[in-house]
Amino acid sequence: MMGALPKWVLLWSDAVVLLLAVALILYGWRVRLDVSRRRDWLKVFRQPAALCSAVVLAAFLLVAVADSLHFRRALPAAGGAGAAQAYSTQVESCLDLLLAPLARSREVTYSAPLASRAFAKATVGTERVFPRLLHGGAHLNDDVTERLADVAGRAATGLAAGLAAAAALAMAGFAALGGRGGLAAAWHRHTEVPWRAAFWTALGLGAVVGLIIAIAPHYHVLGTDRTGNDVLYQALKSVRTAFVIGTLSTIATLPLAVGLGIVAGYFRGWVDDVVQYLYTVLSSIPNVLLIAACVLMMQVFIDTHPDLFETGAERADLRLFLLCVILGLTGWAGLCRLVRAETLKLRELDYVQAATAFGVGPWHIMARHIFPNVVHLVIITTVLDFSALVLYEAVLSYVGVGVDPTMNSFGGMINLARSEMSRDPVVWWSFVAAFGFMVCLVLVANLFADGVRDAFDPRARVFRARRPAPPKEVA
């Protein structure tokens, strides 16, 4: 008999991530058709740093989206025919399917990256030895002599395959995204968009992914943690948490920040006074304290309503979702101030005055003439805040008001790593994994944000450091 289909689960944050992905695609489609928007984005991608970081960000986004498609497996029918189909209480995502070998290969406790033996001695029979791992290097007969050669061999294959796949993908992408002027021009940097830089980035990315794919099924690439779980798996799962916090929190600020900002700037007078008072009150409370207060309240609510959630994952996800909402409700002051100032300027411009003279209503003017002209502020703030929020999540988790402890996150990994770093001998790999993934994500987000700001902010004075031009050769 065929197994029953799994039941799809749409968690709150999934819905947002998927909507965001769809919105990105739709926005991309509109940009392609709109000349002036297209020019702005072209300005972003003309900068090699921004283009390369966009490629890496896209890879992270892919991981986050794959981890946002959740389902619950169907359990084999127990009560014979006629019984209602039961589903597992464990919520899994598509990323979990891909990473199933990693999630399943659980060891007893700590093991170093690429190790075939445990990190601590254990008693086997009567001797104290480093026991073989259950999964890491388990296919080797004599792990002491064969391990290095085996790892090197797999690494070489993985590297070659990864590079080849990335090169092929990059070529396909180049062709699909309108590689006008041909490959030669792109190679010699005669094209408007620095395709060559993007190509190298894709190759680098391909090499890393290839290495991991080749080695991960047989070894723990980044070791295992105290309970024997694969660290690489945790790091990859944390990417989604970081993405959700980084994007959803800013999206949650938008209705209040943009709405109140435009209204305050357009109507001025007492409306303006009230809005200014509101955001002064909010911004005068130290951020962490306000968030902590809200999160404590939310915690009480979740604890007193346990019947609302079917699975643990749903509870953890609601906590993440509400954390983002709280971050949004407490953090709209900055953007609101910007939008208000911009609206004050815009409302005096001729085309707005003309619209007023024609008898267009104030709400129509705000929606039609003012809102489109503050969108650039929204875009800049969204990308600029992303990296700050990812960093903030780690601090909040440390303080104890971050995401649910059962949910993988960089903050949680750092918290655990802190005690591991004070062990003797040092367990360094969890720390290095969290550090590597987080710095990589935040760095590319920062670089991309800088590119976007330079392109979209008409007043931003560009003070980029430039590499000094090489001295001209005298012919």
Partner: protein, 327 residues
């Protein structure tokens, strides 16, 4: 200027009233005192008697906003809102919710001294170090030093402060054994414990601040007075150190001033990582112990400091730039 200060003070008071209302609604209306009692007593089986006793001990058994049973002005003053919220304006914080209840005001006074010992040196060093770093980058503008300096800045601001702390503690305390890992001692002895947190905190902010100041200096450098100074034949160091620096004081004050409340509030992360018994550690303990009285008091003090520091920043503007008139 007197009238300006008065107006700002009145507006500041209004803001504090708003903060107070907001936190009160958040703490007492979203969750009833019963919920708080349950959380604080803990355990699975809690009798109604325990809750009533817990509330009576802390004065939470009174009505929230309006006491119908009392007489005259006591109708307003014999309420949780008056006792727990209005009294904050007189800086009377009451006792904490925890079972070994201590006087919050006393505790805050004691811990603020500790926090200041960490935060004041940090604040001064941070302004000096960031400005110097930025000036060096500007001095070498359009060279390799500037380029790699900015690359370093971006890299440094992409690293979470938690990483600086963990690596710093590991390097300097465990491997090199230069300073103790964590702890605290009163008096001059404190310096031994403070060196590492000050340095690491400095490092963790240098990237962002350095880049910010660099952009501010570069904006100044394009102005006419700089060209005049150069035309007079002044050296680049004099131009930067005397003319540009003085004209960039206003943005520097704005940026440094925004840190002022945190000088007094202490740093949550650094204090708890290094075991320094300041206000930051106090807040963390309160959050993990779910002591709402402490959190509420700290929120109030935080906003008070914010309002005060904004007035201070405005006054500092008039000192930095005589053209600024407060009116």
């Amino acid at each position: 200027m007197g009238r300006y200060l008065l107006r700002r003070t009145v507006y500041g008071l209004l803001v504090l009233v708003g903060v107070n209302l907001l936190t009160f609604v958040l703490f007492f209306t979203v969750n009833t005192p019963d919920d708080m009692a349950r959380l604080n007593i803990g355990g699975k089986r809690i009798t109604q008697d325990q809750i009533v006793k817990w509330k009576a001990e802390r004065g939470y058994d009174k009505p929230l906003y309006w006491n119908n049973e009392a007489e005259g002005t006591a109708k307003v003053t014999e309420t949780v809102f008056w006792e727990r919220s209005v009294s904050l304006f007189a800086l009377r914080f009451g006792r904490s919710d925890a079972s070994g209840a201590t006087d919050i005001g006393h505790e805050i006074g004691r811990r603020m001294v500790v926090s200041l010992q960490l935060a004041v040196p940090l604040f001064l060093l941070q302004v000096v170090a960031s400005v110097l770093f930025a000036l060096v980058l500007v001095f070498f503008k359009n060279t390799r030093i500037d380029f790699w300096g900015v690359v370093l800045c971006v890299l440094m601001l992409s690293i979470s402060s938690l990483f600086y702390i963990i690596v710093g503690q590991f390097m300097f305390s465990r491997v090199l054994r230069l300073v103790p890992i964590s702890g605290w001692a009163p008096g001059l002895d404190a310096a031994r414990f403070l060196v590492l947190p000050v340095m690491l905190s400095l490092l963790s902010r240098l990237g962002g601040e350095g880049r910010l100041y660099r952009a501010m200096f570069l904006e100044e450098i394009g102005r006419d007075y700089v060209r005049t100074a150069r035309a007079k034949g002044l050296g680049e160091a004099v131009v930067l150190g005397r003319h540009v620096l003085r004209n960039a004081l206003i943005p520097i004050i704005t940026s440094a001033g925004s840190y002022l409340p945190y000088v007094f509030l202490g740093s949550l992360v650094f204090e708890s990582f290094f075991g320094i018994p300041g206000l930051g550690a106090y807040v963390i303990d309160a959050i993990s112990g779910q002591d709402f009285a402490i959190v509420r008091s700290m929120v109030f003090i935080g906003s008070l400091l914010y309002v005060a520091s904004y007035v201070l920043i405005d006054v500092a503007y008039t000192w930095a730039d005589p053209r600024v008139r407060l009116s």
